[in-house]
């Protein structure tokens, strides 16, 4: 006797987006002519057909309970015929065809603590990672720092008074789940101490050749410790990337005394004006200081405000620094330039200043 396995549905992929589109969007798909910003957080897209769709963008903590998502659904039913979307920066966007409903929707969002903004020359939501809420390799929390920084930058979310866009992102370790390495301001969790091998169990839990091969600087060697197969770390060669920990749980990296935050600036992904660029190191290390990380908040705010004061119209942080030079950036922000700012990994020489073009 054999029993028939229950029929399983697999490999169906996501629902077709067509089912999810507001009728005005469906009707004007590919026919959009231009858009204008009615006020911060409110866009109006106008079709060749003359029809309009209004988008109201609200900030979100990204980590959402189903209670809040159900409330979003209720708002969508009340104001948007049941249609909404989310943005690549984790904001929620309500899609309306009736402009009279914009202000009541904004009022209801604001009453419930959800700010409307994030468009054009604003600081939009901080793209971020899981941190201590859910990640095994985090050198810091993510949501707590984001909350603390956005509480302070909130006036820039609900207005468009900056010289240009400013994209802030946070990653809680060098894996960088998110475009942290190409952000105007990147908040990056870092470890600063080599992994501490658990020699008693490493040989049983990990494949040693894989562990050795995982190190980008060749800092890991096979070793026998107290008669057990394990590895040794050449500590001077370790730059704390934690790739070994990802392939081997017996090489923990977490270390409260040495883990913390670094701040990087001047990256972008858009091709507008200057080419996409990596963020560069501004502040090598700030200790973790939960629950509100005041030193990180102050550092980010300082960079934003110095840039806002000195940049010309349309200049993003990296473009502003390109014009004034890094020396002036460090002077104006009061950030100290240290040996850690000079690269010493592969291709480091390409970042040395091979000219006499200097500012005094």
């Amino acid at each position: 006797m054999t029993t028939q396995p229950a029929k399983r549905i697999t490999d169906i992929g996501p629902p077709h987006y067509d089912q999810m589109l507001h009728p005005v969007i469906k009707e004007n798909y590919g026919k959009w002519k231009y858009h204008e910003t009615l006020k911060p957080g409110v866009l109006c897209h106008v079709s060749e057909t003359g029809q309009k769709i209004y988008s109201v963008r609200a900030g979100s903590p990204r980590l959402l309970s189903i209670d809040t998502i159900r409330w979003y659904a209720d708002l969508a039913d009340k104001y948007c015929k049941g249609y909404l979307r989310f943005t690549s920066r984790n904001n929620v966007e309500f899609l309306l065809d009736d402009p009279k409903l914009i202000d009541p929707l904004i009022a209801e969002l604001n009453q419930n603590g959800f700010p409307v903004g994030g468009t054009n020359n604003a600081i939009s939501n901080i793209v971020h990672t899981q941190g201590w809420v859910h990640c095994h390799s985090s050198a810091t929390d993510a949501s707590g720092i984001v909350k603390s920084v956005m509480d302070e930058l909130h006036p820039y979310f609900i207005s468009e008074k900056l010289p240009a866009k400013c994209r802030v992102a946070l990653a809680c370790c060098l894996n960088m789940c998110g475009a942290v390495h190409c952000s105007d301001i990147a908040i990056l969790g870092i470890h600063r101490r080599p992994p501490k091998p658990k020699h008693d169990i490493l040989g049983k839990t990990c494949e040693i050749p894989t562990v050795v091969a995982s190190c980008p600087t060749g800092a890991i060697r096979p070793a026998t410790v107290d008669g057990k197969q394990s590895v040794e770390i050449v500590e001077a060669q370790c730059m704390y990337c934690a790739n070994c920990y990802t392939v081997c749980p017996s090489l923990p990296m977490n270390d409260p005394l040495n883990d913390g935050i670094s701040i990087w600036v001047g990256g972008k992904v858009s091709n507008a004006r200057s080419a996409p660029a990596f963020s560069k190191l501004a502040i090598p290390f700030i200790p973790n200081n939960p629950p509100r990380w005041p030193e990180v908040v102050e550092a980010v705010k300082n960079i934003v405000e110095v840039w806002a004061k000195h940049a010309r119209k349309f200049e993003r942080i990296g473009e502003w620094i390109d014009r004034i030079g890094w020396k002036r950036f460090f002077e104006l922000t009061g950030i100290e330039f240290t040996k850690h700012h000079i690269d010493d990994f592969k291709h480091a020489g390409l970042t040395y200043h091979t000219s006499a073009h200097l500012r005094f």
């Binding site: 549905i9 697999t10 169906i12 992929g13 996501p14 629902p15 077709h16 987006y17 999810m20 969007i25 959009w32 231009y34 204008e36 979100s60 903590p61 990204r62 980590l63 959402l64 309970s65 189903i66 809040t68 159900r70 979003y72 659904a73 049941g82 979307r85 984790n90 929620v92 603590g113 700010p115 899981q130 201590w132 809420v133 859910h134 095994h136 390799s137 985090s138 909350k147 509480d151 909130h154 990653a171 894996n175 960088m176 475009a179 390495h181 980008p216 990337c241 990802t246 977490n254 883990d259 858009s270 091709n271 507008a272 200057s274 990596f278 939960p290 629950p291 119209k313 349309f314 592969k346």
Partner: protein, 401 residues
Amino acid sequence: MADTKYETPMLDELESGPWPSFIKELKKVAPRKPMVQDLLGQLEQSYEEGQGHWKHGGIVGVMGYGGGVIGRYSDLADKFTNCAHFHTIRVNQPAGWFYTSKALRTICDIWERHGSGLTNMHGSTGDIVLLGTTTSELEPTFAELTANGFDLGGSGSDMRTPSCCVGKARCEWACYDTMALTYDLTQSFQDALHRPAFPYKFKIKSAGCPNDCVASIARADLSIIGTWRDDIRVDQEGVKAYEKAGLNIERDVCGRCPARCMEYSGKLMIDNRACVHCMHCINAMPKALRPGVDTGATILIGSKAPIVQGALLSSVLVPFMKIEPPYQELKDLIEKMWEWRDENGKSRERIGELIQRMGMRNFLPAVGLEPNPDMVFHPRANPYVFYDEYFVAEEEGEAQA
């Protein structure tokens, strides 16, 4: 036992202030979800100590799939028993992150029954992230998701869930239909998405124009960025209206053009052959300027975050490709690059790293592309050039292969 409730003085400080609070989100579901009560307890301990308490993932999943579920276990399981298992389920989002209220409620109801009630809308790759459940709930969750038309996303060494910008659904700048392409690629490569068979992950992101709202050039192994190759469409009256409204067109539009290809003196003159398609002028005057009508995409390859050999941005592979159904040229290219990486890639090596290790001179013939000056900022400056063959004197035979 299910009533464990911890004091969380540090987390409570994150409930005040004008930005929406994730702690409030946790507390909304905590009264009915013991798992989240314990999560709050563990998180408070992390805040006190300055370190995380999640263990390395384990291999958990649903039958027949190798991806879509991330195993997560607490290293304080004895203390916080209700979140001892706290696995993540990645659910493939609808293209462009568009939803009906009904679809969202369906997801919420499933997650009410089977998980913590916590989500990310959305994860960095684009999936709906269902945050926190136990191993025994994985199959029932999956069964309900698929019965309602949803499927899992990618994880591990597979094709990760493709994602895209809003595209033609609500943007006048979309140079191709990003959502249609993303849906098609996702459906065409279901096996590669669910069953990890690659040396390492492979991400595809589709952006409708060079503004790249999905950061494809920084976050995708394959970046598909919309562009056009004819002339920018200009409405001269519209340009004048921007000037009247106070925009300094000479200084802030022409003066910021990276190609210096435009001039303004009552009329905007653009040298379209010199234009590098950066979008600045169009961004600055959206009611007056639009991309051209001969549209398609630039295909770029290889971006990634630092782990292992350093961060990379994607670089140009195909300067211009028409992106139209059935997308055969693009799909053939993708399959050829996968085949080449399967042959040559090492474990945890992204394709960008592999290309740097083996060289474009090996990669390009494998995917059937000719070298093109658009692929580089400049030709090589170093004279250490590899040649595949050399001549020898006649008596020694023919040229070596």
